[in-house]
């Protein structure tokens, strides 16, 4: 399990930065049959969270209609230097984590 994130290395305080995130995950819907007619069990990432300076700044609840390799682009206002943590959890107990450091400078 893996993920890709795109976060600027540095930003000025107050600047709004764009965050791109993608987890490698099959997002099996639970609505498909295999070639002998059995239902393929659901296996999806159902929650995604992004924390900045220890606070949740973006979260998502995912259903099977989110495409494979869930991808989110969102924004964040740079406050001060610190870590941005990303966590994807699936419905079988799988967890994917990723982190980035954002350096915030005076405007």
């Amino acid at each position: 399990m893996a993920a890709k994130i795109k976060v600027p290395e540095r930003a000025k305080r107050g600047e709004i930065i764009e965050i791109r995130s993608l987890a490698i995950h099959i997002m099996e819907t639970g609505f498909r049959h295999d070639n002998v007619g059995r239902i393929v069990p659901r296996h999806i990432v159902d929650t995604f969270t992004c924390e900045y300076l220890g606070k949740t700044v973006f979260a998502a609840t995912l259903h099977p209609a989110v495409a494979a390799n869930p991808y989110f682009v969102f924004h964040l206002r740079a406050e001060r230097s610190g870590e941005i943590r990303f966590t994807w959890r699936d419905d079988k107990g799988g967890v994917i984590t990723e982190r980035a450091h954002l350096e915030v400078t005076d405007p």
Partner: protein, 141 residues
Amino acid sequence: MLQATAAGMALSLIPWRFAQATPEAMAQAVRETFGVRPIREGRVLLELPKLAENGNVVPVTVSVDSPTTESDHVVAIHLFSERNPLPNIVAVFLGPHNGRARVATRIRLAETQKVLAVARMNDDSLWSASVEVVTTITGCG
């Protein structure tokens, strides 16, 4: 992982035969999420392709006209489907720290249908937009 991906690709060629959500099921999901409060059209820009050639991966961007301040910001954006197997697609949770109320993701659409976006503001007001998307290759939503 490689094997799982290959299996997934082979499976995706098999069309599903499942009961689908209906516009009524979507309305029910909206009521379960927000109660019976009024939902006004406006303030929400829902960007989806008019024609989704591959329903397995449909890019979507939702922007909400909001100053995104402590006193006036978006709390959540929910996407609903009226023709996927399930009416709920995704919900995202935002706040003033986002600076901009704009989110992009990729969704699955089982067939041609209306997609509904509802934004909940911090004053609990609800705003919406909907877009009709023609889907040519079904996605296992």
